[in-house]
């Protein structure tokens, strides 16, 4: 499937190099960047709505905080939620698709019908209700067990799980299709004749063969989850202040667009960072998919 040379071949394109560069730069800046800022940039200060300058390249916000600092903090949360949420969806989708495809017949039919139905239900709306129903309970539960980390990060943990819960459908479909094709191949028949258990056939023979495909769709799920998270945070129902993600920063930025005074940097810089990241992820995912499956 995905030969070793494929990644190198994709990277020979200049656009792919630029995309990979963007991703590495954003990830590195998000990882170490926020620590480099002096205290006065992080906390509310007197410099309200300063436009971009050498001192504050992205300007400052309503409370005088540096926007670059906040964009990098937001990148941290958005990227973590995106990666972890995609990992959850990968686990769910792969398991579901493997079981459906391997079982075949009526089980497969019923399982895929369920996926069809879920495709046509507004899943994000249910997630919104779900998050708001459980967040309080989780925090209470964590407080009783004295898990401080979960008390402050309960929203993020719930977001990761629930967003993973809604983006697994495509993965399940792809994996199932691949398994249906693979299981009629002779090496699977051979394994079955040799008396290997179903579990072993799935983990030893099917899984390694669909791994490249899973990795490709993981690349495409990460931007989808980041977009979902920003949607919830934009509405004020995702990440809660004082924490910030790209979505909540953009919500502040969108409010700053009004006829009286336009603080464009509050919208432009978070939007540019987020869009560049999503574009890079989508582009690389597309290229990987094209290499893997030239038919598409």
């Amino acid at each position: 499937m995905l030969e070793p040379g494929a990644a190198a071949r994709i990277l020979r394109r200049p656009a792919a190099k630029v995309c990979l560069g963007i991703l590495i730069a954003v990830a590195a800046a998000a990882a170490v960047g926020p620590e480099l800022f002096p205290e006065s940039y992080r906390e509310p200060g007197p410099r309200q709505y300063a436009s971009p300058s050498w001192q504050h390249p992205f300007g400052t916000d309503l409370n005088g905080r540096d926007v670059l600092y906040r964009v990098l903090l937001g990148a941290r949360i958005s990227l973590v939620v995106g990666l972890a949420g995609a990992a959850v969806s990968l686990f769910l989708g792969t398991t579901y698709g493997l079981v459906a495809g391997y079982a075949g017949g009526k089980v497969d039919n019923a399982m895929m019908r369920l996926v069809d139905i879920m495709y046509s239900v507004p899943r994000l709306i249910f997630i919104l209700i779900f998050i708001n129903a459980f967040d309080g309970h989780v925090r209470e539960f964590a407080a009783r067990l004295d898990w401080q980390w979960l008390v402050s990060y309960s929203r993020i943990v719930i977001l990761i799980i629930t967003l993973g819960l809604i983006e697994w459908l495509t993965m399940a479909r792809i994996v199932r299709g691949q398994v249906l094709a693979l299981k009629e191949r002779s090496f699977i028949h051979a394994a079955r004749v040799l008396g290997q258990s179903h579990l072993k056939i799935i983990t030893r023979h099917l899984l390694p063969n669909i791994l490249p495909l899973i990795i490709v769709y993981l690349t495409l799920t990460v931007p989808a989850v980041i977009l979902d998270e920003s949607f919830l945070s934009f509405l004020g129902l995702g990440i809660q202040p004082p924490q910030a993600s790209w979505g909540s920063l953009l919500a502040e930025g969108a409010q700053s667009i009004n006829p009286l005074k336009i603080y464009w940097w509050l919208l432009f810089f978070p939007a540019a960072t987020m869009s560049a990241t999503l574009l890079a992820l989508n582009y690389l995912g597309d290229r990987l998919r094209d290499t893997l499956d030239p038919r598409r």
């Binding site: 139905i117 495709y119 046509s120 239900v121 507004p122 899943r123 994000l124 709306i125 249910f126 919104l128 209700i129 779900f130 708001n132 129903a133 459980f134 309080g136 309970h137 209470e140 931007p223 977009l227 920003s230 949607f231 934009f234 509405l235 004020g236 129902l237 979505g247 953009l250 919500a251 930025g253 969108a254 667009i257 006829p259 336009i262 464009w264 919208l267 939007a271 987020m274 869009s275 999503l278 574009l279 989508n282 582009y283 597309d286 038919r295 598409r296």
Partner: protein, 306 residues
């Protein structure tokens, strides 16, 4: 077609039932009630309030009572907007959401199909690459970024279009474009892939071999088959548009159902929340059924076993 609809009906009611149950219990699981205020309400008054909004008694009998009311088409009273029924609120706000969603639906499908065909016919040329780069961009920029940017450019700088609000057709243009862009991008990509595949098939070669003009081959023969994946996407598209309209209504200050949905979560307004979700899901279920039925009409091979 009628047979298909009748056969699907029981499953559809089951899905709707699941949606209602899930929503009802999720709302009830949330901590805090609709009448929690900073100052505690006297117990006698709270009991009366709960009775008025049918929130008293054991949870199970509340649920069966709710189902019975729903069967009569009564979505109950909103606990936040006192004395207004959910039916009344939805009757005022849903037409707004539908006008917005409907226009975005038309925009997304027409421009998506056009762009995808445009790119596929010019495969591997500069115009193809440009069109697909545009689609990738449309897919990667969130609606709540596109919206404010359009407002900034066309509303505040050029002053061509109103920045928000509701009432005149001009106020519909920017929100509908904002809502349509990402889905037009998805459809364009679907359309291009599918058309490229169809153009390689035998019947296209036959049509070309018998001397038909390229135009006729693409638009009369290939497009008809190539459009099927787009038709399959219409169901999810409707769901995405309803979800997306929540954001667009917020950005453009449009008095649609989306704003009420967000507020109903924040206010713990269970019946309003339930009403919006149930009506959305019921509509989507019906819409999907129609899409499935039209799918059978479009592709004759499917009609045989349907």
């Amino acid at each position: 077609m009628l047979k298909l609809i009748l056969r699907r009906l029981p499953a559809l009611f089951f899905v709707l039932f699941c949606v209602i149950t899930l929503t009802f219990f999720l709302v009830r699981l949330a901590p805090g009630g609709p009448f929690d205020r900073e100052r505690k309400i006297p117990p006698a008054i709270e009991a009366q309030l709960l009775a008025k909004y049918k929130l008293d008694g054991p949870l199970w009998s509340q649920f069966t009572g709710y189902l019975a009311d729903l069967a009569r088409g009564d979505l109950r009273l909103s606990t936040k907007y006192r004395n207004r029924s959910v039916n009344e609120i939805l009757a005022q706000t849903l037409p707004v959401t539908f006008a917005l969603g409907g226009l975005a639906f038309l925009l997304a499908t027409s421009s998506g199909v056009w762009l995808g065909t445009f790119a596929a016919v010019r495969r591997n040329t500069a115009s193809d690459r440009l069109a697909m780069a545009g689609a990738l961009l449309g897919l990667s920029i969130p609606m709540f970024v596109v919206g404010p940017i359009l407002v900034l450019v066309f509303g505040l700088w050029l002053k061509w279009l109103p920045v928000g609000g509701w009432g005149s057709p001009a106020q519909l243009i920017l929100p509908a474009i904002t809502l349509a862009i990402p889905f037009a991008a998805v459809i364009a990509r679907l359309m291009r892939t599918s058309l490229l595949e169809v153009l390689n098939q035998d019947f296209v070669r036959t049509a070309k071999a018998k001397g038909l003009a390229d135009r006729t081959v693409v638009y009369k023969h290939a497009l008809r088959v190539a459009i099927l994946p787009v038709v399959t996407y219409l169901g999810p598209l409707a769901a995405h548009l309803l979800t997306g309209s929540i954001v667009v209504e917020t950005v453009f200050n449009i008095p649609g159902a989306g704003g009420f949905f967000v507020n109903s979560i924040l206010n713990r307004d269970g019946f309003l929340l339930g009403g919006v979700v149930i009506v959305y899901c019921a509509l989507l279920i019906v819409f999907n059924l129609l899409v499935d039925a039209s799918y059978a009409l479009l592709d004759r091979r499917i009609r045989v076993d349907a």
